[in-house]
């Protein structure tokens, strides 16, 4: 088990390195000169000033040197300094991280809390009218773009009910009520498609499991349906859902980029967006690496949870 975890971690680090390389290269290829952009407000700058700024930002070094110094910094947790704010990227990320994580987790929670029962009901009432309607609803959930859902909610909640989210983001430990009032709608918009995916996946894996031999065995023991569904079928069919959630987490993290901006949530998603626009390489790089690390970590976690639930994996 520990060997498995270590092996997975090493693979994760390898992927992280690949991500870094990929993003680094792409960022350097993207047109748009960060130095010129920064000096856009200073008319009549001289070449000397341009060079000085480039040197200050470390952009005068060969790309390989820049890459190497970034990597060696990253290993020690130093992701460099933002071109824009001149703040350490690590610090900026740490400041922005909680909001994004919370949003992501809320969306996942929403998708699980709603998706799991829907999936189970659908599977139990397989092919019934209820099943068909729930399937239609969940497929519809995937079919509406989340940004669109978000905008509709914002606009019509305020027009019809005079409701709008609280103005200022508050971390959950600052003011839980405000925090949830802000997070509710984006989490809903973000979690809808994951919810649909969860219920679909659970439905199909549940259908498969309930037709398996061991469920028949459990039934032959005279176990009540509740026990059959929750203990045996449930645990067995939730396994692929975990994998799904791990992958969905990537989508949800991606989704924060748009939704955080729409909902004024100071998280990493909105940070990435501006930073790409502003060619703030260190921040983009830092954020993407961080997203990648979170994604890899979550999926590692999923695999470990999987191994905890499924003894067959634990010992292989």
């Amino acid at each position: 088990m520990i060997g498995y975890a270590i092996r997975r971690t090493l693979y994760g680090l390898l992927v992280l390195f690949l991500i870094t390389t990929f993003v680094f290269v792409v960022l350097r290829l993207i047109p748009g000169d960060v130095v010129r952009l920064q000096l856009a407000d200073a008319p009549g700058v001289t070449q000397a000033q341009v060079d000085a700024l480039a040197a200050e930002l470390g952009l005068d070094q060969p790309v390989f040197t820049q890459f190497w110094s970034f990597i060696s910094g990253a290993v020690t947790g130093d992701l460099g300094t933002s071109f824009e704010t001149r703040l350490p990227v690590t610090e900026m990320i740490v400041e922005r991280l909680p909001a994004t994580l919370e949003l992501g987790l809320l969306a996942i929670m929403f998708s699980v809390v709603l998706g799991v029962p829907l999936g189970i009901i659908s599977a139990i009432r397989h092919n019934s009218f209820l099943d068909q309607s729930l399937r239609l609803v969940s497929v519809a959930g995937i079919s509406v773009p989340n940004f669109w859902l978000a905008l509709l909610l914002i606009t019509y909640l305020s027009i019809w009910f005079g409701w709008s989210q609280p103005l200022v983001y508050a971390a959950p430990w600052e003011n839980l009520g405000t925090n949830l009032a802000i997070m509710a709608i984006p989490a809903l918009a973000l979690g809808t498609s994951a919810m649909a995916a969860v219920s679909r996946m659970l439905r199909s894996s549940m259908l498969e499991v309930t037709q398996s031999n061991f469920v028949r065995t459990v039934r032959s023991r005279g176990a009540p349906e509740r026990l059959v569904i929750l203990k045996h079928a449930g645990r067995n069919s939730i396994l692929p859902v975990f994998t799904l959630l791990g992958l969905q987490f990537g989508n949800i993290l991606g989704g924060t980029v748009i939704l955080e901006s729409i909902f004024s949530i100071p998280g990493m998603g909105s940070l990435i967006f501006t930073s790409v626009q502003m060619r703030d390489y260190p921040v983009v790089l830092g954020c993407v690496i961080f997203y990648g690390a979170v994604f890899i970590f979550v999926n590692l976690l999923v695999d470990l949870v999987y191994a905890v639930i499924d003894p067959r994996i634990r010992y292989s």
């Binding site: 748009g32 010129r36 407000d41 700058v45 001149r86 901006s261 729409i262 909902f263 626009q277």
Partner: protein
């Protein structure tokens, strides 16, 4: 300032704002556009009564400052963020009875001031007993002339627009704690207006000595104390109890939320969570709808100064031909654009019409009437009877409205046979690689205001101008521009400036300035005393008060 206020998004708004060159009105700012204010909306509430103290104002802005350092950051966001925290020596007047955008100044930190005969030496007498905010490391100590010296000396070491403002200052001295003397290289009768520029806010020496971080902290002498700033989230300001203006501010404080999405802002306004929403540039219909939906909501429409433009690269075919450029100018239905796409605005020549020395909108309209037939003739004359095809670069960094305008222009041009394909670039690419590198043939974009007619002309139309990114190289024009700078008589100079602009419109015709659009502010019924100045400073917030003290 800019621009990007439409839904667009997202943090692109921030980009656009930073992108503005010199995002401030200088001392030379002129009258507000006469046609741009909606008289009914701007009227004071009739039964508002006398100002009462108390309450916290809730407002929102689409993007936040990247830094609070007024000398390192030139963006609107920075100046709006610290405008009520710091003070200047002088400040532009604002108020109910003061004309919007006046260039008249009043004392701020300076109680009074005088110049010598030829206006080369200016002496400012500072208020006594002014204290900084009670925050470490300044801790509420008294403001003295030393702080002015610290500030000016810092400016002289840093690049940026503010350096240009005081470039003529050769010496600065503080004979005593409450007197500061500036010596100028050349006469400047308007120097008291120069120091009213929000770039020249006075910092405490602790700040210039780096005892606190100017990027993230602001400790000044203004009406409001910056209690908390969390980047991209909010700014919390509270009334300065020791503010030197008596009975000000009325508010207990105000709170700014950063809301990048226009939809969210409107929703918050509609649900009463926001009381003031500035910098809108929405469609007239949207404004009307909003006004009808929310009781007591008022609109304040302010003449803008950001020009919409078509950039034509005169070094590239076919725009090396004046006739082609003129054809483009005649082909565009500019009044239609204002009507169809903006909530208000006025036609503009090379210099924003509200500036001294600018051509009036009426004259601009006369010089380049909308005339597709004429455009076709001009094209035929230039050897393009069947028109031609081109790629027009546009950035969505200025917001969705600009992209829409580009499409409008696209259809107008198509009607005279010019077939342009819109190529969207993100702001960084547009600015860094296309526009500033003259790497375009035709482009659509914005030009945020410069400081004066002179600056427009010298920066953009001199053959070696700093922002001459259109390839204009006209010796006669160079000569004319140089000449006007030597004219000391204001009237004569204005005439010369206007002559140059007529010449540009008819003989240079690149870039094509189309119009400036109005900005709108939505004010909820309980907010009174909001009389802003287009310098984007927030000093005037000290005059805002809430009906019933916000209760």
């Amino acid at each position: 300032m800019s621009t990007a206020r439409s839904r667009a998004r997202l943090l692109i708004a921030g980009v656009a704002v930073v992108a503005t060159t010199s995002a401030c009105f200088g001392g030379a700012a002129g009258q507000s556009g006469s046609d741009s204010t909606d008289p009914s909306a701007d009227q004071p509430q009739e039964d508002a009564g006398d100002p009462v103290a108390g309450g916290v104002l809730q407002m929102a802005t689409p993007s936040d400052a990247r830094s609070l350092d007024p000398h390192r950051e030139a963006s609107y966001n920075t100046h709006a963020a610290i405008g009520s925290v710091y003070s200047r020596l002088t400040a532009f007047k604002t108020g109910e009875d003061v004309e919007y955008g006046t260039t008249e100044v009043e004392g701020d930190l300076a109680e009074d001031w005088e110049a010598n005969e030829d206006s080369t030496e200016w002496t400012f007498h500072l208020r006594e007993g002014v204290t900084f905010h009670d925050k470490a490391p300044v801790n509420g100590r008294e403001f003295t002339s030393a702080d002015v010296l610290c500030t000016i000396e810092r400016i002289q070491t840093l690049p940026g627009h503010q350096l240009g403002l005081i470039s003529e200052v050769t010496d600065i001295a503080a004979p005593d704690d409450y007197t500061v003397t500036f010596t100028l290289a050349s006469p400047n009768v308007d120097f008291d207006r120069v120091v009213a520029n929000p770039f020249l806010v006075i910092l405490p020496c602790e700040g210039t000595n780096e005892e606190f971080n100017l990027d993230t902290e602001a400790i000044g002498t203004g009406a409001f104390v910056l209690d908390e700033w969390s980047r991209d989230r909010e700014r919390t300001l509270s009334a300065n109890p020791d503010y030197f203006v008596e009975d000000r501010p009325y508010l207990d404080g105000y709170h700014v939320t950063i809301m990048p999405d226009a939809q969210s802002q409107t929703a918050a306004l509609r649900s009463g969570k926001l009381q003031l929403m500035t910098g809108l540039s929405t469609d007239a219909r949207a404004v009307d709808t909003l006004l009808s939906q929310v009781d007591g909501l008022r609109l304040r429409q302010e003449g803008g100064s950001t020009q919409t433009r078509v950039y034509l690269n005169v070094n590239e075919e076919p725009f090396d031909d004046l006739n082609v450029r003129r054809a483009v100018a005649h082909a565009i239905d500019r009044e239609g654009m204002i009507e169809g796409l903006r909530a208000g605005g006025s036609l503009s020549g090379p210099v924003t019409p509200s500036f001294e020395g600018a051509l009036s909108s009426e004259e601009v309209a006369e010089l380049t009437p909308y005339d597709p037939e004429l455009a076709k003739e001009l094209l035929a004359e230039a050897g393009y009877p069947d028109g031609f095809s081109l790629e027009m670069k546009v950035t969505d960094g200025y917001g969705e409205t600009v992209v829409k305008e580009a499409q409008w222009v696209q259809q107008d041009l198509a009607e005279v046979g010019i077939d342009v394909e819109i190529k969207i670039e993100d702001y960084a690419t547009y600015y860094g690689d296309s526009w500033a590198q003259q790497n375009y043939v035709i482009a659509y974009g914005l030009q945020t205001p410069m400081l004066s007619a002179d600056e427009y002309l010298t920066a953009e139309y001199l053959s070696d101008g700093g922002r001459n990114w259109n390839g204009v190289n006209d010796p006669k024009l160079d000569e004319m521009i140089q000449e006007q700078r030597t004219i000391t008589d204001p009237v004569e100079r204005d005439e010369k400036l206007q002559e140059i602009q007529r010449y540009i419109i008819t003989e240079v015709s690149s870039p094509l300035s189309l119009y400036v659009y109005d900005g709108q502010t939505m004010i909820s019924s309980d907010v009174q005393g909001y009389h802003p100045h287009p310098d984007y400073s927030s000093r005037e917030y000290m005059n805002i008060w809430l009906v019933d003290g916000g209760e």
